[in-house]
Structure formats: structure tokens, C-alpha cells
Symmetry: C2
Subunit: 385 residues, 2 copies
């Protein structure tokens, strides 16, 4: 099914429109993005861009949100797990519209709609078309689900991120990473709430702190390049619906726990910036607000956490809203051993089958696979190779 | 009045006692201190140390605690404001006891007791003697108050820090900075509650994050040496008792404000570590939990904050429990202008007279003034010059 990209999305201002100050500071920007992933900036689109590629294939990584005391404002990307989206200029699609042609991959599911506005990839792609002002070109999209749904690994964000990035590539990459996060937020707000802690790292890679939404203000936290960080991700066969996990949250937090979690959030940020994997693990393990409410809803989670730490992990918590458990360590080999103990703890403590993988921090975020993308003949722009 | 140092303080374990692990990690330490101020470590004191100086004079700086969303876990030291304490080996004092001989200085007050256990300097000094196991030497102490009481600038912590450091210097500096923080905490717990967010930066300098109390775990956050940071401190003639300001705090915090303040705490820590004065100011200004309750209790504070930011400060909040307002900027000259607008705002908005000073970040913390200290003849240790 095709859908017009001119559906009524919330209007997104561009910084150069909203801030005529010739010497602007980030405090005055409607959008602020403190990161170094890309030098591209939001630009006012005065004319509809033309395609520079006939097709583009993009990948977006899995993400671990919350990280304990980073609840609802911190997430990071995980290498080697994620979704692929291919987008093609398609003359059979009505100009300005998008159609989902195929959903495949190991985690393809009947629960995934092909209606572009009921599918995360579709919503992300359409939002990107809207931001670019695409009216004259029709696109078709195919999604390869590499992530399971409802696993706590940012599956919906990965689809939206890959789709927005693929659409952007088709039209010469005019959208900034912040624009792409906004496109992905259109999708996230429909499936799991207006939270950027998965979509921002899915787009930008590494660790991203969500500083505010009005304006959207993202801080990329650089984990030092010379340091290694591995995530042990253990996913049990259990459904932990985001809505149920949100309902378990306390409405109010007592002052001592508030102060505690704030200090652990600060320590978590310091550990990331210093590349202190041990400190990161300790901070990640220290949540007294959210994890204590959610862990009992996932059979075996408390035993899994104990097993991870006893097995040598620096820390362990619930990934996103679960049910995946995430532990951190500084060696792939240790990660494998820790994963085995965690799988065993899910079996013994929760009666659940589980699968473990060990993955590095993804520092890049969503990217176009150019060898799988096709340049438009005589496109005249020459920006993409 | 003299007081025996063997009064029943809480027993303090030393890390090397409690952790026989030959390859310890900070997770397993009863005390953890991630900072680089001093290489000295806690040592098990097997014998009572002998004095290496006949007298020692120490300075400890003013401190700004809370910094908005850093409530109760973050503080920093401010250069050029603080208390001096001189400690002298005194044969007229009963061995193992301490006497306060004099209280002087611009902020000497009748409210300051000379009873060592009713005076912050006395409590800090006696706690340090206790940690060192001093039984055979009597000490006399004189305090020069350079900080006003109840100003929100860590006056009590500065007295305790200077006293503990002076006692430690007399006996060869055997106590680690973490021991000294513990000594100061004995005092803080008696006057303003068991909070280390003033005493830790007063001892260690710079920014210090209090990660936990059980065990006491402190993280020094290094503000980059090449960056300048100035505090504009504006103290009105108004009393804001810590107890009243504590009573104004909410008992519970709604989840949205909890998440907001946690994210701002993370952003604050990132800004400190990056030397991003503008980001630090924005984060400092962003507290939605404590400042909104306390600011209305200080006449003019809301107007002062507005005036500071409109005058070019990167951010402004209440220092400690107030009534001092603290703003940050990156230039001493700008700081002077901002201070004038803040003083004017206290007058117009609150009907209060106020005084402004502009001070740099103190990166050192409490220190001994060796030129004012006296070496013991033939002490045989030669550690102090």
C-alpha cells in the first residue's frame, strides 16, 4: 500500500529558520545536537531535492536504552545486530507516496503491517520524505527484520532509523542526523511513546543522552576509541509488552531514591566518557527506581543479574523494557562465559529458554550500504558514489 | 576546653584491612575514591604516629554544593574564599586531647563555640586525631573564619576540612583524602546532615560526585586544565537556615521530573568533564525538583536568576541551601558585570542588600601553608619541609 508523504505530521522547524542570530549559541537553537558523527547540518529546503540514487540499502543497529539509572534519557547502539531497509525510486508508485513491497528476514512476522503508517519503517520513511519535501517521486521499501519484536533491543527504532537513512540517501543526504532522529521519533511515538533513547543512538551510534525534547537536544557521549566495551545480551522466550512494563513504574519517587538515581546517572555518564567499563557496569547495576519494579515481572531476571555479576560481568540490568538482560564486560571471551551463566540462570531461575550473544558497542549508528545502493545515471549532483 | 580524641566515633575501616584481595578492584573496596589529587592511600596504622611538625596552618576553600540537578551528590570548590585553621602541639594540653584556643577572622561570631565537639573545626580535628590514633600528644587549635555562617558556601565544611588537614600535617600526612573526608563528615553530620557534597570538594578540590555512602565512594570530576570557569557568588543579607530549606523539599518526585533531573545531572557531569562552561550553566539552571521549592523562600532569587542569565551568565542557581546565588561564566570581567546585575536584582526584586564576588574554580582543595607551619627539631622523619 502506498501512502502520501504529505500526511499531517507535526511541523519541524529548521534551526537556521528559527534562529536568525548570526552568532548563534546552542542555548538559542530550537534543535541542539552536540555530537560529532556528521558535519551535515539542518538546511532550509527551498526546493524539492532530486534523487541521486535509484535505490539505497541502509542498516540500523539494535540499541540498549535506559542502562539502569539512565531511564528514558540514555541509550547506546550495539554492533552487528539490526534491521536492513532498502528503498527504491519506483515509477509505479504515485509521486510523493511510499509503498512497502516486502518484509523478510529472520524476524519477519505477521504482526508487521505493510501499511506504511502502521509500520515503523514506513512511518520513518514517510517522515523523512516529508522533511525533504518529496512530492514528485514515488518510493518502494523493503524491510529485512534482523531484530525480534518486543525484545527490549530497540527493534522498532532500528526499522525507522534504517528507513529514514535510506530515504535520505536517495535524495543526497540533505537531512542532518537530528532531522533523522525526528523522523524516527514519529514512529517511536506511535509504538512506544515519544522517547528518543532508542532512535537517537540507532541513528547516531555510540551513547546518546537525551537532554530535552522541547527543543530536541541530544548529547553524544563519546566512549574512548582505545577502550573495548562488550554487551552480553540474553533474550529469553518471554513477552514483556512495553505497555505492561510502563504500567509497573512508580508514579512518584521518594527523595532518597531520586538523589541516589541522579548520582548514579552522573556516575554512568562519567564512566562512559572515561571509558571506565567497570564503573559503567556498577552504575548500570545501581538503579533503585525502575529495575526493582520491572525485574520481578520477568521470570528469572533477578537470578540472571546475580549470575552475570558472579560470573564476572561489571554490571547487569534490563535492556529497554525487557525481557532481554544486558551485562557489560571488557572482553569478548569473558562475555561468552558470562552469557552462558545468564542463559543457565534464566532456565533455572525463570524456567525460560534464552539465547545469548556478545556484541561490541556500535560507534557509527545507521549507515548506507553503498555497494548495495544504485547511483542514478546522469543525476548531475555527483554527491554519492 | 580540651576534649579527648578517644570519644566514641563510628569506627572507620581501612581498605587494606577489609580487602585482602591482592588484586583489588574498586567495587570490592569499603572505601573507593576515584581521584588524582593525592597518591597517599589509607594505611593501617599499627602504631601511634609521632608529630613531624610543631604547628601547621591549613586553608580549606568555600564550596558550592548541589549545582541545581546535582542536589545532595555534587559539589565543587571555589578559589580564594575559605577558612584557616592552625594546630599546634601543646604540652599544656592533656595528651590525646584538643583545645580550641582562639576564633578570629572577619566572620568570627559568638555563635561559634570553643567546645571542640560543638565546633566544626574541633569535630574535624578530633576525628582526624581519632583516625590517626593520637593518644600521647595534646593539640591546641585556632580558627580564622573567612566564610560567613549559613551562607550556602560550605562554611562548616571549610572549618572541618582545614582542621582535619592541619592535624594530619602535624603527624606526617598519613591520612588519605578519603580519611579526611570521613573526618569532616563527622562534623557535617552534626551541623547539616550526613552529606559529603561540601566536605568532599573542600578536601579534594574541583568537582566531586558522591557516588555512595556505604561504602563512601567519591568520584573527582576533572574540569579540563586549559578551560577557565568563574563563579559569580552573590550573598544577600538574609538568613536561610539549612533546616528550613530542607523542610521545603518535596518528599516525593513525579516520574517526569525525576527523569528530567536525572538527565540534567548526566548533562552536568558531561559538561564538567568536557570543560563546557555553557553546558554546565544550562544544566545548573535546569533543576525542576529542588530550586523551584527553595527559590521562593529567598526574596528576589527568581529575579536574580533571570538577571544573571540576561546579563550573560551561562546559568544560575542557589548555592547549597542558600541564600547565596551562584552563576557561572568563562571570564572574570563578564563575571564582574553579571555580579552587579545580580546585586541590583536582589535589591529591586527582594529588597535585600547583597555582595558579589567572582572566583575561579579551586582545583586543589584543602592545603597546608608550609611557610606558616613549623618543623619539629630532630623529628627523624624528614617528610615535611
Amino acid at each position: 500500500m502506498a501512502i502520501c508523504c504529505q500526511s499531517p505530521f507535526k511541523h519541524i522547524n529548521f534551526s537556521s529558520h528559527a534562529n536568525p542570530n548570526p552568532n548563534p549559541t546552542s542555548r538559542k537553537f530550537p534543535f541542539v545536537c552536540n555530537f560529532s558523527l556528521s558535519k551535515s547540518q539542518s538546511v532550509p529546503l527551498v526546493a524539492e531535492p532530486e534523487p541521486v540514487l535509484t535505490s539505497a540499502r541502509a542498516f540500523a543497529p539494535a540499541t540498549v536504552a535506559n542502562l539502569g539509572p539512565g531511564f528514558d534519557f540514555l541509550g547506546c547502539a550495539v554492533d552487528g545486530l539490526g534491521d536492513f531497509v532498502s528503498v527504491t525510486v519506483d515509477p509505479t508508485i504515485h509521486p510523493g507516496q511510499l509503498s512497502i513491497s516486502e518484509i523478510s528476514g529472520p524476524f519477519s512476522s505477521k504482526r508487521l503491517s505493510k501499511h506504511p503508517l502502521h509500520n515503523c519503517a514506513g512511518i520513518g520513511a514517510v517522515a523523512a520524505m516529508k522533511l525533504l519535501g518529496i512530492r514528485s517521486v514515488g518510493l518502494s521499501l523493503s524491510l529485512e527484520k534482523g531484530l525480534p519484536l518486543g525484545s527490549g533491543l530497540g527493534s522498532s527504532a532500528a526499522s525507522a532509523a534504517a528507513a529514514a537513512v535510506a530515504v535520505n540517501a536517495i535524495f543526497g543526504g540533505l537531512l542532518s542526523p537530528l532531522d533523522l532522529v525526528n523522523a524516527g521519533l514519529e514512529s517511536e511515538s506511535k509504538v512506544s511513546g515519544y522517547h528518543a533513547d532508542n532512535i537517537a543512538p540507532a541513528i547516531m551510534g555510540g551513547f546518546v543522552l537525551i537532554r530535552s525534547y522541547e527543543p530536541l537536544d541530544l548529547m553524544k557521549l563519546e566512549f574512548p576509541l582505545e577502550k573495548d566495551l562488550f554487551f552480553v545480551l540474553v533474550s529469553p522466550e518471554f513477552e514483556a509488552p512495553t505497555k505492561k512494563m510502563r504500567a509497573a513504574l512508580p508514579a512518584e519517587i521518594g527523595m532518597p531514591h531520586h538523589v541516589w538515581n541522579c548520582s548514579q546517572a552522573g556516575a554512568l555518564v562519567a564512566a562512559v566518557l572515561r571509558g571506565d567499563v567497570e564503573g559503567l557496569g556498577r552504575a548500570m547495576s545501581s538503579d533503585k527506581v525502575v529495575e526493582p519494579r520491572r525485574a520481578p515481572l520477568i521470570p528469572g531476571m533477578e537470578a540472571v543479574k546475580r549470575a552475570a555479576v558472579e560470573g564476572g560481568a561489571f554490571g547487569c540490568t534490563i535492556s529497554g523494557a525487557g525481557p532481554t538482560a544486558v551485562a557489560v564486560t571488557d572482553s569478548e571471551e569473558k562475555g561468552g562465559e558470562i552469557g552462558e551463566t545468564m542463559v543457565e540462570a534464566f532456565r533455572e531461575g525463570g524456567g525460560l529458554k534464552a539465547v545469548a550473544v556478545v556484541k561490541r558497542l556500535d560507534r557509527v549508528g545507521a549507515r548506507v550500504h553503498l555497494e548495495k545502493s544504485s547511483k542514478l545515471k546522469n543525476n548531475g549532483m555527483g554527491k554519492q558514489e
